[in-house]
């Protein structure tokens, strides 16, 4: 008698025990068509979507009793700071680690985010976001052959708002919500624009301000924003993305005048 059968005989009412129903959009590889598969997972207290997915991985049997492939998804920190486990849960793009089963309507629908290429099942490739960060030079260049000494101090009130911008975890939810981020456009999306504001607010980062602004003025940069303002509504970290975009609009306009008419750098 296998372990599973043994458990069944030991606990005959288990079939009546509380189950959590899932409908999961699956895709076997980047090029194959997607399909839905239903799963029922035994309920545990304080369960979240990730612990349910782990349960499916332990026992990959669909709700018809057929053997299934374990569901693939991305995860890392499990406390909503890394952004890796974003997926569409009941129609809303969010992190699966903070999606508590008790707060979700059943059957729970899990889909991969649509803006990004699907690698497999719920796992998507967000590397375009990293490419965008590289494009806008979202870093502070301090490497060199000698010690540059301490940088200028940052005003406390500035630190406070720029700290909010630093909460961005590149999760991709704002890109998912943006109508202008899609196959027809090269728009880098809200996240990278806000990062330019973050690095330009830093007293040392400010020294390379114009490089980042000029990158934002490039193809697929800030001018591809059409102010639908979905990004600020959906950001799980509450980052004032539209404030960042408008602030960078002002800065890029000033930069473009400086570039054309001259004045400063």
């Amino acid at each position: 008698m296998s372990d599973a059968q043994a458990q069944e005989t030991r606990n005959p009412e288990e079939t009546d025990a509380k189950k959590v129903k899932f409908i999961i959009t699956r895709q076997d590889d980047p090029d194959s068509p997607s399909y839905d598969q239903e799963f029922e997972v035994p309920y545990r207290e304080n369960m979240n979507v990730i612990s349910a997915l782990m349960e499916i991985r332990r026992n990959p049997i669909d709700s018809q009793g057929n053997q299934a492939n374990p569901v693939i998804w991305d995860m890392n920190c499990l406390e909503e700071v890394c952004g890796a486990c974003s997926m569409i849960i009941n129609g809303t793009a969010r992190q699966s680690c903070t999606a508590l089963i008790d707060q979700l309507e059943q059957p729970i629908r899990l889909e991969p985010m649509k803006t990004f290429p699907v690698m497999r099942d719920l796992q998507v490739d967000r590397s375009r976001m990293f490419d965008s960060l590289k494009k806008v030079k979202a870093w502070i260049p301090i490497d060199g052959t000698y010690d540059l000494g301490p940088g200028p101090r940052m005003a406390e009130n500035k630190r406070q708002w720029s700290y909010e911008l630093s909460k961005c975890m590149t999760c991709g939810v704002c890109l998912e919500a943006c109508p202008n981020v899609n196959d027809n456009s090269s728009f880098i999306g809200p996240a990278a624009i806000s990062q330019v504001r973050l690095f330009n607010s830093h007293p040392t980062g400010e020294m390379n301000k114009s490089d980042r602004l000029e990158a934002l003025m490039g193809e697929g940069g800030i001018s591809s924003c059409s102010n639908s303002q979905n990004c600020v509504e959906v950001c799980p970290k509450g980052i004032p993305l539209t404030t960042s975009i408008a602030a960078m609009n002002r800065e890029t306009n000033i930069q473009s005048f400086k570039n054309f008419f001259g004045g400063g750098n």
Binding site: G91, A177, P179, N180, N182, N184, S185, F187, E214, M217, G218, E219, G220, G221, I222, S223, S224, S226, N227, S228, Q229, N230, E233, V234, P240, T242, T243, I245, A246, A247, M248, N249, R250, E251, T252, N253, I254, S256, N259, F260
Partner: protein, 203 residues
């Protein structure tokens, strides 16, 4: 660094929508509002506009070229977006969609409107006067077409004014953007009243 083409085109598109197209729209509505006084008042105003010095240059640089660029480039912008208000039904997202719907409709409406009036006068010897408009809107379908056209224009202008303020970095904070929402709402209502009063003066 040379001016980036896309950046410059998008900024120009935003600017032209207000200056001169938005200003022209206001002027156009105000002049047409003379029709509420009398047919003669309207004819006088239309005649005055017709006889402005350098008219062909004024028309060319203040209307035709800006509106052609704004319309054609705007259509290009429409095709770059994928409407998603079903999934994200927020107010600004709906404004985003209405801006596109009214923009595309206005391309059709304004083309028809120019054909109906300016082209007829320029090439077929018709005279632009009160009677011409009265004949057009005598057809209830055309009247409806004009009403939708006027409301589309006032909406597209008011909402465009709102995003102009964001695009040019004038309204940055959510507070300023909310105030601009109310302000542009007032602009929308006021312009709609003027436009509708003018068109109904021809009925």
């Amino acid at each position: 660094m040379a001016l980036n083409k896309e950046f410059a085109a998008r900024r120009l598109h935003s600017l032209l929508g207000i200056i001169p197209i938005g200003l022209f729209l206001m002027q156009h509505f105000v002049v047409n509002h003379f029709a509420t006084r009398s047919a003669e008042a309207f004819n006088g105003a239309a005649h005055f506009m017709e006889n402005l010095p350098f008219r062909i240059f004024l028309e060319m640089f203040l209307i035709y070229i800006p509106i052609l660029f704004h319309g054609i480039y705007g259509l290009f912008i429409v095709f770059q977006g994928k409407a998603n208000a079903k999934r994200f039904g927020y107010f600004r997202n709906w404004m985003y969609i209405f801006q596109r719907i009214t923009g595309v409709f206005l391309l059709v409406f304004i083309t028809w409107h120019v054909w109906d009036t300016w082209v007829q006068a320029q090439f077929f010897g018709a005279e632009v006067n009160y009677q011409m408009m009265a004949d057009i809107v005598a057809n209830p379908w055309m009247l409806a077409f004009y009403i939708v056209g006027i409301l589309s224009a006032t909406f597209h202008f008011s909402n465009g004014l709102w995003s102009f303020l964001v695009t040019w970095g004038i309204t940055v904070t959510p507070k300023a953007q909310l105030a601009a929402t109310y302000f542009t709402l007032v602009v929308f209502v006021a312009m709609s009243v003027i436009g509708l009063r003018a068109i109904f003066a021809f009925v």
